[in-house]
């Protein structure tokens, strides 16, 4: 019987712009809806304070870093304090690839942004599956 590990999904906190909000919402959609039995969110601000349970999980289980922009705070934090994530997404770069506009409002996502968040969540769910399937 193959044991499939739980995956920690870590979103950047991204207060600076709507891309951070998008990352956060997509991460929550994976946790709440798409892969709720297979994922755990790691709270990045709590992780950065050195909280033992957050660090402990990230050291032992695979993680996916979801960064709003190319500064890659989530990926760098996870790599620095636990180990390199199994997968990572730069949402800004991805939206350019998809030719989709970034959110204009960082507090409220409009209907198109929510659609983008769901699309991003689906991508993250696929990454969860891929990590779990890996030998």
């Amino acid at each position: 019987m193959k044991i499939r590990p739980k995956i920690g999904v870590v979103s950047c906190s991204g207060e600076c712009c709507g891309l951070g909000t998008l990352s956060r919402v997509a991460t929550r959609l994976v946790l709440e809806d798409l892969r709720n039995d297979q994922t755990v969110t790691i709270c990045l601000p709590l992780f950065l304070t050195g909280e033992i349970q957050e660090h402990g999980f990230a050291k032992e289980y695979p993680t996916i870093a979801v960064d709003g922009c190319g500064k890659l705070c989530a990926k760098k934090a996870i790599t620095t304090y636990s180990k390199e994530p199994a997968a990572s997404v730069d949402v800004e770069a991805l939206l350019k690839e998809w030719e989709v506009e970034s959110p204009k409002n960082r507090r409220v996502l409009d209907a198109n942004n929510v659609k983008t968040a769901r699309r991003l969540a689906e991508l993250l769910a696929e990454k969860v599956d891929k990590i779990q399937e890996a030998p």
């Binding site: 946790l31 709720n36 790691i42 349970q53 999980f57």
Partner: protein, 150 residues
């Protein structure tokens, strides 16, 4: 050797302090040297509840029955009664509970104690730490979604 029995679910670690006894209603019991008992909420109970916003305890002098109401706590998810593990009289309540109920979350077995009771029944109905730990593990598996905030 750890002073706790521990079990992990996802990133959450649940602790049972080995030196205490427990009721089925998620209350721990610590016998004091003068025959009274100090009581509080288990780690599992506080984790399942979430961040406590309010907590209140019956006044000293209140008589309680086994399973009787000694207080309650409130989060955004629920209001939950705290039930007495023994028959007796409340003699002391934690002064921190009213202004800082979060102390029950941060230190459930220490600073987050709830009340001291002078018992008039014996403690034979209480669970040992080992027995409570086994029961708690089953509950953890069932309750994981609530604990995750889903």
């Amino acid at each position: 050797m750890s002073e706790y029995y521990e079990t992990t679910a996802d990133k959450f670690v649940f602790k049972v302090l080995k030196t205490l006894r427990y009721s089925k209603d998620e209350v721990w019991v610590k016998p004091e040297s003068n025959g009274s008992i100090r009581v509080g909420l288990t780690d599992f109970a506080q984790r399942r509840a979430g961040d406590l916003v309010f907590a209140e305890v019956q006044a000293p002098g209140t008589q309680v029955a086994v399973g009787g109401f000694i207080g309650s706590y409130e989060t955004v998810k629920l209001v939950q009664d705290i039930l007495s593990p023994v028959e007796g009289v409340i003699t002391e309540i934690n002064p921190l509970i009213d202004s800082k109920p979060e102390v029950i979350n941060s230190d459930p077995y220490g600073e987050g104690w709830v009340a001291v009771i002078k018992p008039t029944s014996d403690l034979s109905g209480l669970l040992s730490a080992e027995d409570y730990f086994e029961q708690m593990k089953v509950k953890v598996a069932d309750e994981l979604k609530k604990i995750k905030g889903l």
